[in-house]
């Protein structure tokens, strides 16, 4: 057992914890589930209790939003302890069937959605987009790394399609990987499957490095975070699409002509905001769309509320029956008078859109990725 060999105390610097409670205090799911991440920082110091602690169902409630780590005054990462406990369960093979299936699907087909690799490019039908050749002599500016969810989910697919339209409109020299593209492994690591993540890391780095490109642009903030911060030896710089699009707008390469007379608010994805400090670019893009009235959530930027889509939560249902955070988010947006909740992450798109249906407001409130709005404003 890898995690046990190193020892939780050293691996997570547990003795540095002063039990101040900022982690649990800021934890978005602490109020609706039994998860008390601070207690785990204390309890896991006793290595004899690790097995028992790893069997607690609440370790699967963590969305890995990173708020606990961002708030920790000692620079610790409490969420990693929970991921470490998940690893112990994964190694024992004790996981929910949905998680097992997702992980198996990544191993077999390079995506967590149980779809064959051959269908990976279905989303490109009718679009002007080419797969790049590895080791090409001439460099392409942008390699688009398309998230599995964007590639396979019929709803989220529209986001990737919008991005292609936007990039073509701006005359960007870009291409995609093609069928060889595989899951980045962000959710794999967060579900605790360390071995499979190492494989994703190695294989993707080798694949990505084989392309002669200036930079990689990801659609999902989860891929962005993993490529940028968790991979080893990646040669190319990594951007999130909001960074690229903001650049295109600033340089005047992308023109938005159509009016969109709507009240729009923006939901900060945790993996873009809290984890990578990208707050201004999405707002800059939205406010450049003609006619838009932009309103901020009270809880925005560093204080944004997690939608509960990350940390493998797409495949783990919480036992809690309390109101979902995405539903709170939708209510807040309604109170704000927003007609559109703009997002920049496939998981946020799915969780928030689902919440509008639960709340019965799907008619008057739209959830859309910034890219979809941009494509409409071209």
């Amino acid at each position: 057992m890898c995690a046990e060999e190193i020892g939780f105390v050293e691996k997570y610097d547990l003795l540095g914890c002063i039990q101040c409670g900022r982690c649990t205090g800021g934890c978005p799911v602490a109020l609706r589930t039994d998860l008390r991440v601070r207690c785990f920082m204390y309890d896991t110091q006793n290595e004899e209790r690790l097995e028992e602690l790893s069997e607690r169902p609440e370790i699967w409630d963590c969305t890995t939003c990173y708020t606990c780590a961002a708030r920790c005054p000692k620079g610790l990462e409490p969420l990693e302890v929970l991921i470490g406990l998940r690893s112990l369960q994964i190694e024992e093979g004790r996981v929910q069937p949905t998680v097992r299936d997702a992980l198996e699907s990544i191993f077999k087909d390079g995506n967590p959605w149980g779809s064959p690799r051959a269908k990976r490019l279905d989303w490109t039908a009718g679009l002007e987009v080419e797969a790049l050749e590895p080791e090409a002599e001439e460099a392409t500016d942008v390699l688009l790394f398309v998230c599995c969810t964007d590639a396979y989910d019929p709803r989220v697919m529209k986001v990737a399609q919008a991005l292609v339209k936007v990039l073509n409109a701006a005359g960007v020299d870009f291409g995609i990987i093609g069928e060889e593209e595989s899951c980045c492994g962000s959710e794999v690591r967060r579900l605790g499957e360390e071995g499979l993540f190492e494989m994703c890391d190695e294989e993707n780095v080798e694949l990505l490095n084989s392309f002669n490109v200036n930079r990689i642009v990801t659609v999902s903030p989860h891929c962005y975070n993993t490529l940028k911060k968790e991979y080893h030896g990646l040669k190319h710089p990594v951007l999130h699409y909001t960074e690229l699009v903001a650049e295109l707008l600033e340089e005047g390469k992308l023109q938005l002509s159509k009016e969109m007379a709507k009240v729009i608010t923006y939901h900060d994805p945790c993996f873009l905001g809290k984890q990578n400090d990208i707050y201004d670019e999405p707002r800059y893009i939205i406010t450049r769309i003609p006619g838009v009235e932009f309103r901020e959530f009270d809880r925005c930027r560093e204080r944004s509320l997690c939608c509960e889509g990350g940390g493998g939560k797409m495949w783990v249902e919480s036992e809690s029956k309390a109101e979902r955070l995405a539903e709170i988010r939708v209510e807040d947006a309604k109170e704000l008078g927003a007609e559109i909740i703009a997002v920049a992450c496939p998981f946020c798109l799915l969780t928030l859109e689902d919440a509008t249906k639960v709340k019965g407001v799907e008619e008057e409130m739209r959830v859309a990725d910034i890219l979809e709005l941009l494509a409409e404003a071209l």
Binding site: C20, R22, C23, G25, G26, L31, A70, R71, P73, E302
Partner: protein, 678 residues
């Protein structure tokens, strides 16, 4: 000292610090075999009286002319043993220390290897001792005056003590008034005495003391020289108000077209002032100042028909042509008492400071509970950035008092994420004090909650005060909040009650952030002027954390107050008195010894490249023209009063023309060779 070297070697046990790892007996036996070593001994504590007596006795009885002490780092006890040599009748620079503690016993576990290393270090010291030369200790006269930078409570106290002892003090303060942060406070913990009541008499005293020359709204621009003879240049910024004529009546401020439109720094921005202003009623000097950035006449060249302040001033004190004045003087000593900044709460965006009107810093809240503050001492809900209607007859709606006030401790302290790992030492107690004041001023039914992670009530009367405040009904919840957001017109503080593992959404009207103390953002100015060092927390570094807490590495320059590290008022005053006393030692004796291990230039070989001039951190070297066999050439020359013996020049000199006394190549190279370095 001529003749054959006769060396005594003394190996210290330092209790078990050295002897626990190093076999000192074996080292002594080894030392006895070294050439020129006449005697070698060991003793449990060489620095003790009997230990030193071993050395003086051997000098007298055996005619030693060199001494090697193998013990600790020279930092602490080199001065001790130099005195021993002196009292034994030897030149003190015939001492060589072999560090077998910090550089040997403390860092090694293996006794055999550590003993071998100790032998090498001792042998190298013996080799160098053989080549040591006698040095003269020079003395310089000390100007009996002191420059004190900063007139908060530390600077004020130091100034009064030194002035009372009969020395001249130049007290320089950057802002228009003396008093510092203490003047902003309402009550002081744990005794609850009124801050102004105990401070203002001292403020008046510094202004009136015959031995104190007070320069407010002034900045030190240049400092040259060395202990005993510092040359100081101070810029007295123009107030555009004639200090001799201004009566402090305040008619000008009432008439100023900008009145009530500029955030008053003294009120932490929650109160307003005009372009001509007195920071607070008890300000010293009680003279008005025009802030030229905000004065319409000075910044835009036009203020209505003519400046209203000038019309209003009966004394004719306002003069827009007044210029800055630069004064120069000499002092013997310098005390730095520049204080602190409070932590910028915007760096913790999760608390919504700057977003929500009623999330305040503790210092803003302090101004609010202060009777001379912007709300006249009333605790009220704030509406920031809202312009007050000035229509006559229209009664403004009375601001509402909060029904609940919540304090968050450790904001910007003990927090690696903002680079402040230290505890600010005052927040626990000022929070308890402010909580008490809320109960006192708003009423007992106002709910007061303090979120904390540890309560550090370590000072005299602190724990008793903490007990009292809890019994007054102030609720302490153990858990440091993680974020604040808004629900309706209430603020929601998200935290965990860590004692019961209960996540909370605590509703409150007002949140006070107990911000910590930080090094001043303009610290760099003083560092550049005085070449001060900083500790890892970026406060100024004292010469020794335990035994020289008010001295700096530079002779004649001392520290007082929070500029050295967070402290409360009693500690700041105590340190100020310590700094005053330390500064008075050279001033009282009238002369001071200067470094003897200075650098010396061989003018016959110096090429005059000037590299050393650039390098010297003390500006002690200059190029001078000499006549070399009929040719005028430039060579480096060291001002020995300024040289601190750091050795940077000697290490860098391309031609080996600069040598540092006691560290000459002829002394160092054999020592290095003896260590086994090829």
């Amino acid at each position: 000292m001529n003749g054959k070297p006769k060396i005594g070697v003394y190996v210290c046990h330092c209790g078990t610090n050295i002897a626990g790892t190093v076999n000192v007996e074996e080292v002594v036996q080894f030392a006895q075999t070294l050439p020129d070593v006449v005697v070698a001994r060991n003793y449990s504590y060489m620095c003790s009286d009997p230990g030193q007596a071993l050395i003086t006795d051997d000098i007298a009885n055996m005619g030693l002319n060199r001494v090697v002490v193998a013990s600790c780092s020279p930092r602490m006890h080199e001065p001790t043993f130099r005195k021993t040599l002196l009292s034994g009748g030897l030149n003190p620079y015939f001492l060589e220390m072999a560090n077998i503690r910090e550089q040997c016993s403390w860092v090694h576990d293996d006794p055999i290897a550590a003993t071998e290393k100790a032998k090498r270090v001792v042998e190298a010291a013996v080799v160098k001792a053989r080549r040591l030369e006698a040095l003269d200790v020079k003395e310089v006269e000390v100007e009996p005056s002191c420059l004190i930078i900063g007139a908060g409570i530390a600077g004020i106290q130091a100034a009064l003590d030194i002035a009372d002892a009969g020395f001249k003090v130049y007290l320089v303060e950057k802002s228009p008034t003396v008093g510092g942060h203490m003047a902003q406070l309402d009550k002081t913990f744990p005794t609850l005495d009124c801050s102004a009541c105990i401070l203002t008499p001292k403020m008046v005293d510094v202004a009136n003391h015959p031995n104190i020359e007070l320069m407010t709204y002034s900045q030190v621009e240049e400092i040259g020289g060395y202990i005993g003879n510092f040359d100081i240049k101070v810029r007295k910024k123009s107030r555009f108000v004639d200090m001799d004529k201004c009566t402090g009546c305040g008619a000008c401020a009432e008439e100023c077209r900008m009145a009530g439109r500029i955030p008053n720094e003294f009120d932490e921005g929650i109160g307003m002032r005009g372009a001509i202003y007195l920071p607070f009623p008890q300000a010293v000097p009680a003279k008005y100042t025009i802030d030229k950035e905000n004065c319409l006449f000075l910044s835009k060249g036009k203020c209505g028909e003519s400046p209203k302040c000038k019309e209003a001033c009966q004394a004719g004190a306002i003069n827009f042509d007044l210029q800055d004045e630069v004064v120069e003087f000499k002092v013997g000593t310098i005390i730095v008492a520049t204080g602190f900044d409070i932590f910028d709460a915007r760096l913790k965006p999760e608390y919504g400071y700057g977003v929500y009107d009623n999330v305040l810093t503790a210092l803003e809240f302090e101004r609010m509970v202060n009777a001379s503050g912007p709300t006249g001492g009333k605790v009220v809900m704030l509406e920031r950035g809202k312009k007050k209607k000035k229509k006559e007859g229209e009664e403004a709606e009375a601001p509402r008092m909060p029904r609940s006030v919540t304090f968050i401790q450790c904001v910007g302290s003990r927090d690696k994420s903002v680079g402040n790992e230290y505890c600010s030492r005052v927040c626990c107690m000022y929070t308890a004090k402010l909580a008490h004041l809320v109960k006192d001023k708003v009423g007992h039914d106002c709910e007061v909650t303090i979120f904390y992670m540890d309560v550090r009530a370590f000072g005299k009367g602190f724990e008793e005060f903490y007990d009292r405040v809890r019994r007054e009904g102030v609720k302490y919840i153990r858990g440091n909040p993680s974020e604040i957001y808004k629900k309706g017109d209430k603020l929601i503080v998200r935290a965990e009650d860590t004692l019961t593992a209960t996540p909370l959404e605590h509703e409150t009207d007002m949140v006070v952030l107990s911000v910590g103390l930080c090094p001043r953002s303009d610290n760099r100015e003083i560092i550049d002027l005085l070449k001060l060092s900083q500790s890892s927390d970026l406060f100024y570094l004292e010469a020794h954390p335990k035994l020289r807490p008010v001295d700096t590495a530079s002779d004649g320059i001392y520290l007082a107050g929070v500029c050295q590290g967070p402290k409360d008022i009693p500690d700041a005053v105590a340190q100020a008195k310590g700094a005053a006393s330390a500064a008075m030692i050279p001033m009282a004796s009238g002369k001071v010894k200067v470094e003897a291990q200075t650098s010396v230039v061989n003018e016959d070989t110096c090429r005059g490249c000037g590299f050393c001039v650039e390098l010297c951190p003390f500006s002690a070297i200059e190029l001078v023209e000499i006549n070399r066999m009929g040719w005028p050439v430039k060579v480096a020359r060291v001002n020995e009063a300024l040289c601190k013996g750091c050795g940077a020049c000697a290490a860098a000199c391309l031609s080996g023309s600069i040598q540092q006394r006691s560290f000459k190549d002829l002394q160092l190279m054999p020592q290095i060779k003896a260590l086994g370095v090829k």
